[in-house]
Structure formats: structure tokens, C-alpha cells
Amino acid sequence: MRTRFACLFIVLVLCGSALSCVSTGTVVSAVQSAVVVGQAAAHAQEEFTPEQEYYLGRAVGAEVLAVYSPYNNVDANLYLNQLGQTLALFSSKPQTFGGYHFLILDSEDINAFAAPGGLIFVTRGMIKCCESEEALAAVLAHEIGHVQLEHGLEAIESSRSNEVFQVLAEESLSTFGPGELGLLVDLFGDSIKDITSTMINNGYSREFEREADKAAVAILREAGYEPSGLTAMLEVMQTRLNPQGTDFAKTHPLPSERIQELGAIGVGMDTVQPLPGRQARYEQFLAMVQ
């Protein structure tokens, strides 16, 4: 469908050019211009494949782990993955090239990151804002939302993406020489910088955060969790965030604003009443990350 519209774009440019033409030479020139413009439009509409998204995500994750140390507790990370990977089954993108995987970061910062392709990181500080499994499920579902909506890939500057697609369109990788491969490696590195600087330093747009919250609510409901776990977590976070901090306080809208927006989609401040067995396993997990 996209290709069809790209071709249509060329045709429309041709039509416009033909209408204003007064000589055959001008027609030829207009055709050439239209083809060039059309090729650029076609590149702009291409997308990264799941495999490319996977390799971008691995590199972004490796950057995150160059800043934050992993929390080296196998049992705690296993529980996080049981919760996270089970939740991911209920997302609109339940499969990615390499699958969803979760890791605890050994930091008191309140933060969480989702790298393209499904690598998701949560700090101990963030986990401590979650008083129930529902609340932690909400944090993970929000991050899964960023993955399913491909917000990380959106952070790559469009001019850079276009350059990548142009390089790929021009040459088959099998015929790449060192120069072309080097160019691709440079573009890869620059794309990683685009994503990490958005994820770690600047944060996604308010619209993306709202979309991720909406996706989280859908995932939680499908999985059988009470979505008010998200508002419960935000209330606790509100009391702990340092407004001058470089973590969630810097990269996300205020918790109070998110709570208000969640209210608009029917997620209230109802108190979560965790079931005994569920809460017991959560408290066991919480004890491992204190």
C-alpha cells in the first residue's frame, strides 16, 4: 500500500509537471525530477525490519548497561522475567525478533528504559515505588507499550533513517565494500545515539508517554490485572521523585498529570486489593531487591 502511494506521488508530480510543460525537454526534465523526489519519498516510508530493530535494541541496551550496573540477583531477575514475559503475551506485539527480556538495574534512581526490540530495564528505585505486583506489572506494561509502538525507532532522526534506507537500496549487502559497510556502521552508531539521548536524557514526547500508558492499561486488563496499579505506583512515585533529579523527573510528565490523564480513560484511584498468594510472591521478590 505504501509503495502504491509512493508511486502515486510520482504520478501526481508528473501530472503537475505535464500541465506546465511547454517543450519536450521540459517534460523529460520533469520526469527525472519526479523520479528523484519519488525515490526520496519511498525511502522515507520504509521501515526497519524486526531484525534491524533487534540489533539497534541490543546496542541501546549495551549503552544503558555502560551507565547503570545490572543487579546481579538471578532469582529476582527470574521473577521480573516471569512477570514481564507473561505480560508481553497480551500486547499487540507479542513477538519480536529476539523476544522480550527484562533486567533490574542496581540504582536507587527512579527509572525504567525500553530498548527497541524488547529489552527492558527497571531500576531498584523504581521497583521500590511499587507496593504490589499490580503496580510493578503496570511499570513493565508501560515499557512494553513503548516497544510495541516502536517509540525507540521513532527517536532516530528521519534524515538518518532515510540515509540508511538509501544506502540499503543502492547496494546489496553482499557487494558492500569496506567503505559502504563503514558508512552503515557509522549510521548505526549515530542511530544509537539518537535513541539513547532521547531515552536517557530528554525523554519521549508527552504524546508517546500517553500512548504507552494507554497501551499499558490495555495489556493489564487483558492479563487480568487491575489497571489502577498504575495510578497506585504513580502516587508513590510522586512522593519520592526529586523534582531536580535526572531520572524519571527529567524525562517523564509529572505523575499527577499522568494520573489525571489516566482518569480520562477510566482508570481511577481505586485501592488495589492484592490477592494473598500474589502479594506473598511479590513481597518475596521485593525483599530480594531492598
Binding site: L8, L14, A18, T86, P94, F97, L173, L184, I192, L275
Partner: protein
């Protein structure tokens, strides 16, 4: 002058014909190509039933091709080409696009392991990652590899849901979440 007008009219005519052809209702997404799809994830599990919690029959690899036998929401009952195996796969692991695989990789069905096959993809791939790693030795790919090794099986997910007294609709697992765009649901039911 007459020649110029003729050329212009001819150009316009061609453009209009082309535009009409492009705007004409085409085949719905996958109407034709849906019978043969390609695996676009590293590993695609074929299951006994259309649910992520159903037992796995076999695992297909990136680049493997399948034909569709029937559809059920976001799931397709597929048969793997070049083998007798069939089962249910979630559509998110399949693509109608032809994967642009690198020449010289040999047959994808010749026993290449998943890493070798992954290398075959065009663009940002294992070769590009290797170059990136060599120039950025401080990156912690070791922990990324550790993360990826943690896989929760369908049985573990089922046990997690059961112990947590969560009662999701089994048929909703792997279906579109509420509020998400619905996919074309053509094909046999």
C-alpha cells in the same frame, strides 16, 4: 508547437492512466501472498493450538517459509515448506515481504544455526554489530547476552498466571489488545 501539445497531452494521458491504475482497489493486504509467508523473527514456535500457552510442536527459523492452512484472529495454522510440520503461529512472527537475504549464505534449511541465519539479513545485522562493538569496547554486550538467555516457557507463564489467580481469557492471549488496530482477518476460519 503541435508536437509539443501532443507530447504534453500524451504525458497527461499516461499519468492519468497510471494514477487510475494505482488508485484502483487493489488486492487486500495479503490477499494473494498470504498463502506463502516468511518467518521474520529469530525463532518462531509452532504450537498445538492458537495460544502462546499451548505446547510447542516445533521451532522455525528466520527466513523459513510457510503456507497458511487457516486463520483464527491473529493466529494462523501453517505448514512449513520443505517439511511435514504444521501448527499454529502468531502472525506477528510472519511477513509477506521477501526478506532481503545476503548471497552466499546457502540454504536456510541446510542446518545453519540461528546466529548464522541472522547474519543473512540486510542492513543493521551481526556484522554491523561486530564492527560497532570493536570500536566501543565499553559497551556491556555480555549482560545483553545474559538477558536474552532468560526465557520463560509457556508452562512457566501458565503457572505464573494460575498461582497469581489471574484469569485472562485464554483466547485473548496473542490477540489484538483493546484499542489496537485490528488486522485483516482474511483466509479460512
Amino acid at each position: 508547437m503541435r508536437f509539443v501539445y501532443s507530447t504534453t497531452i500524451l504525458g497527461l494521458g499516461l499519468a492519468v492512466i497510471l494514477a487510475a491504475g494505482l488508485m484502483a482497489p487493489g488486492k487486500a493486504l495479503g490477499e494473494e501472498a498470504e498463502s506463502s509467508l516468511t518467518v521474520q523473527v529469530r525463532e518462531l514456535e509452532l504450537r498445538q493450538e492458537a495460544s502462546f500457552l499451548s505446547p510447542v510442536i516445533t521451532v522455525l527459523r528466520y527466513g523459513d517459509q510457510v503456507t497458511i492452512i487457516s486463520r483464527q484472529g491473529e493466529w494462523a495454522q501453517v505448514s512449513a515448506l520443505f517439511s511435514d510440520m504444521s501448527g499454529w503461529a502468531h502472525m506477528s512472527g510472519l511477513t509477506e515481504e521477501e526478506l532481503d537475504l545476503n548471497a552466499g549464505q546457502g540454504s536456510l534449511f541446510g542446518g545453519a544455526d540461528s546466529d548464522e541465519v541472522a547474519l543473512a539479513g540486510k542492513g543493521f545485522n551481526q556484522a554491523v554489530e561486530a564492527e560497532h562493538r570493536s570500536t566501543n569496547p565499553g559497551l556491556r554486550y555480555d549482560w545483553i547476552d545474559w538477558m536474552e538467555a532468560v526465557k520463560v516457557s509457556p508452562e512457566e507463564s501458565q503457572a505464573f498466571l494460575t498461582f497469581g489467580e489471574m484469569a485472562p481469557d485464554q483466547e485473548s492471549i496473542g490477540q489484538e489488545s483493546m484499542g489496537q488496530e485490528s488486522m485483516d482477518q482474511g483466509g479460512e476460519q
